[in-house]
């Protein structure tokens, strides 16, 4: 297997006002990697939702940082979202059940659900030294997930 080659990376302070820069970096890097618009839209959605959750629910107003990297490995694009927030695994958030009372729902659950719909795999691991590393994987195929 060819090692993943980082195409682009961006570090931002924990500030939702900087999310547009993350989206633009993903668009630009995914375009350079040969992805087409439907695919890029899905990837941008997933990365925005997960980066937003890191800032809004992970740092929750405290100072911090988020680093987003995009790499290509054979026929897949791999995005890692790294932060220094308290350890939290969003992949453990259950699928939404709208029949349950709303007070049982964790804030940010909508974003987690949307992100899941937009990529092939999401995995979490604690960051050595503190924080989280979230890895999103999407096979390089034309179209949105619904097009497959």
């Amino acid at each position: 297997m060819t090692p993943a080659a980082t195409v682009r990376s961006l570090r931002i302070p924990s500030d939702v006002g900087r999310l547009a820069e993350v989206r633009e970096m993903i668009r630009s890097a995914a375009t350079a990697a040969g992805a087409e618009p439907g695919y890029i839209g899905d990837l941008v959605q997933a990365v925005d939702e997960d980066a937003t959750n890191a800032i809004v629910h992970g740092h929750a107003g405290r100072p911090g940082w988020v680093v987003v990297r995009l790499a290509r490995e054979e026929d897949r694009l791999i995005v890692t979202i790294e932060d220094d927030a308290p350890v939290f695994d969003p992949t453990g958030v259950p699928e939404p059940d709208l029949s349950e009372p709303p007070e049982r729902r964790r804030p940010g659950g909508m974003g987690v659900h949307l992100a899941r719909l937009c990529v092939d795999e999401i995995s979490h691991r604690p960051r050595p030294g503190g924080g989280n590393i979230l890895t999103l994987v999407r096979k390089l195929e034309p179209g949105t997930k619904e097009d497959r």
Binding site: V16, G17, L19, A20, R23, E24, G38, G41, V44, Q45, D48, E49, T52, I55, V56, P96, L98, E100, P101, P102, E103, R105, R106, P107, G108, G109, M110, G111, H113, L114, L117, T144, E146
Partner: protein
């Protein structure tokens, strides 16, 4: 990309406020949109057309904003933006308890925004039109 939200007035069978969303709707600006619509309601708006033709991106926080807009224009308190799926739960109730409401309608949604609406079921709450003229005629 920032979000610009110019307002125009139009007249169909009823007076219509047209609010265009130009740019990207995300966690940084969705509360400002809710506040703007609260102000429009207080100024007398009862029929609102959201022109999404210039909306390039909508995050899940934008869904909370759209749902809040519907609640506000109906004279109801918006859901708690921190409620996450709770906000969508309330939306599910809104959808199941009645037919699609007609006081807030959409036009011009681009494919990426339509996908977000469809993936979360929010599209069921809105009448959606291809362009501003056909939307105004539908009020």
């Amino acid at each position: 990309m920032a979000l610009e939200t110019p307002v125009e007035q139009a007249t169909g069978r009823v007076p219509i406020t047209v609010l265009a969303l130009d740019g990207e709707l995300d966690a940084s600006n969705f509360m400002a949109l809710i506040d703007q619509v609260r102000g429009l309601y207080e100024a007398g708006t009862r029929h609102l057309l959201l022109d999404l033709s210039g909306l390039q991106f909508m995050a899940s926080s934008g869904l909370v904003a759209l749902h809040s807009v519907v609640r506000l224009i109906h004279g109801e308190p918006p859901p708690d933006p921190e409620a996450g799926w709770g906000a969508l739960h309330a939306l599910g109730q809104d959808v199941s308890e009645g037919s699609t409401q007609a006081e807030v309608q959409l036009c011009g949604a681009q494919p990426a925004v339509e996908r977000v609406l469809a993936r979360t079921g929010l599209h069921r709450l809105f009448l959606s039109h291809p362009d501003r003229a056909s939307a105004i005629a539908a009020f």
